[in-house]
């Protein structure tokens, strides 16, 4: 496997001449923009990693004259805080990325869905949005963005739940298909992209896909912003080239006693020390929306798992049974095993339940509860039992 080592880069937060990049983007045809993003190999930075160019291509192909570009700023995954920082520091690049995406797919309207926990950013963002709209007008381009606020529901980061919320309803995920590119917000063709994805797209327009693909690996192009927390001497936000191993990451950010790294938040995977060297951080290994939590040997992995299961039990929207009941049963189950009320072999039943949830749950929330559950129980069984 390709291994690029650990390299710090500074592209996302780099100050740019927004007007110049936008003027360049607006001169390109829709097909040229989409081709540039396809060539870059950019995959979505929110966690799921869908190829951005494909999403734009599908939305562009829809005939409906009314389309939307939605920026997903409902950053709720435990351990992720990079989108807040991006919006705080370079919102002009987020707005710019939306305008470029809008041009590519043929949308005149953009909506940013910002999580309620970040409301304090809103006054500043409104001022920056106003100057953005002024600049767009001066360039002579027709595109407008509005902000919609969330109200404290993790599930609204799921794209179709987010649309429901914008429409003024309970944030319950929809059945798919139809996919958002066909029927998204207000049942119009919609491209929904993560905050960082839009900034990265802006960067690709600025520097060109040829320069972008110099960074990262074949499966994970470019660099990405990591949110680093837990047992580390240097918690915070770091932009790193994709394609390093967990070991290289731990060498840089660990406290010398790291026993496990949770990659991708509560819905991601737990990598134990014995697998650090062989695990690549990226789409060819463990994918991440940026959340990296380090745990040292003083931490109980039972407590970590219990915390995550408690989180999912509360945040499950309750619409489908596998997720609603599954989360509760996993939580109750590990509690029983810990207290000695159930045999340790009961964990095997719970592992099967996690598999069932992966197959049967309606959306990404229920489908990914098993990631953390299976990787923590699988690697730290003795800590769950004793």
């Amino acid at each position: 496997m390709e291994n690029k080592g650990l390299n710090k880069v500074d592209l996302i937060f780099e100050k740019i001449d927004n007007r110049e990049v936008l003027a360049k983007g607006f001169k390109m045809t829709r097909d040229e923009i989409i081709q540039e993003i396809l060539d870059s190999g950019l995959k979505g930075r929110g966690g799921a990693g869908f190829p951005t160019g494909m999403k734009w291509k599908f939305t562009a192909a829809e005939k409906n004259p009314e389309k939307y570009i939605v920026c997903n700023a409902d950053e709720g995954e435990p351990g992720t805080f990079k989108d807040r920082e991006i919006l705080d520091r370079v919102s002009n690049k987020v707005h710019g990325g939306m305008a470029i995406a809008g041009k590519a797919i043929g949308a005149k309207k953009g909506i940013v869905y910002l999580r309620g926990e970040y409301r304090y950013l809103l006054p500043k963002l409104m001022i920056e949005l106003e100057s953005f709209h002024k600049m767009i007008k001066e360039i002579g381009y027709d595109f407008a963005i509005e902000y919609r606020m969330g109200s404290g529901a993790y599930i609204c980061g799921e794209e179709s739940a987010l649309f429901e919320s914008i429409e003024g309803k309970r944030g319950e995920p929809r059945n798919k298909p139809p996919y958002p590119t066909v029927s998204g917000v207000f049942e119009k063709p919609t491209s929904i992209n993560n905050v960082e994805t839009l900034v990265t797209a802006m960067m690709i327009i600025q520097h060109g896909s040829k320069n972008f693909i110099q960074y990262g690996t074949k499966d994970s192009r470019g660099s990405k912003v990591f949110s680093i927390s837990g047992d580390t001497p240097t918690p915070g936000i770091f932009e790193l080239e994709l394609g390093m191993t967990v070991q290289q990451f731990v060498n840089e950010f660990g406290d010398g006693d790291t026993k496990a790294v949770q990659v991708g938040g509560a819905s991601g995977f737990c990598v134990p020390r014995k697998k650090f060297a062989e695990t690549i951080i990226g789409f060819e290994g463990v994918p991440t929306g940026g959340s990296m939590k380090l745990f040292n040997s003083s931490r109980s992995m039972y407590n970590v798992l219990h915390n995550y299961l408690d989180f999912f039990t509360e945040e499950s929207c309750g619409q489908c049974t596998p997720c609603r009941v599954g989360c509760q049963q996993l939580l109750k189950g590990v509690e029983k095993v810990k207290k000695g009320e159930a045999k340790s072999t009961y964990l095997n039943e719970l592992m099967k339940l996690a598999d069932t949830m992966k197959i049967a749950a309606k959306c990404g929330l229920g489908q990914s509860v098993g990631n953390a559950f299976k990787s923590i129980v699988g690697n730290f069984k003795e800590e769950i039992i004793y």
Partner: protein
Amino acid sequence: MYQVGNLVKELSDKHGHARESLMPILQAIVLKHNYLTDEAMVEVARELDISAAEVYGTASFYTFLDTQVKGKYVIRVCKTITCSMKGKSDIIQTLEEILKIKVGETTVDKQFSLIETNCIGWCHKAPAILINELPYTELTPEKVSEIIKDYMKK
């Protein structure tokens, strides 16, 4: 209890009467009064011409759209893993002692409500809390008591 008066009318004139205006209207009421009364929700239903059950159904889905009485300052303490590892329990204990309430309760003078919440995105500066919309981070028991005492003077 607060009197909703003309607020709902003003908000629906501002945001519009379509279903998509529901969240912005409810959010604006909560920003002003910290929770939704039955009266407010019925009024919103009337303005948007939808059933009150639809309004309550939507509001009760979102943790920030409280339908129970809340104080003027709602303190939300993050309980997700990093904050939990970095001393969340000490912060809760300190708050409970100062405010003389337990998690989930509101002070008698309706000034403060204390609740736990899931990840608020400040894991690198844990432990963290929100007081209404403002975040306070890298807290210690001393730091959080200072902050609350300042709010008590307001």
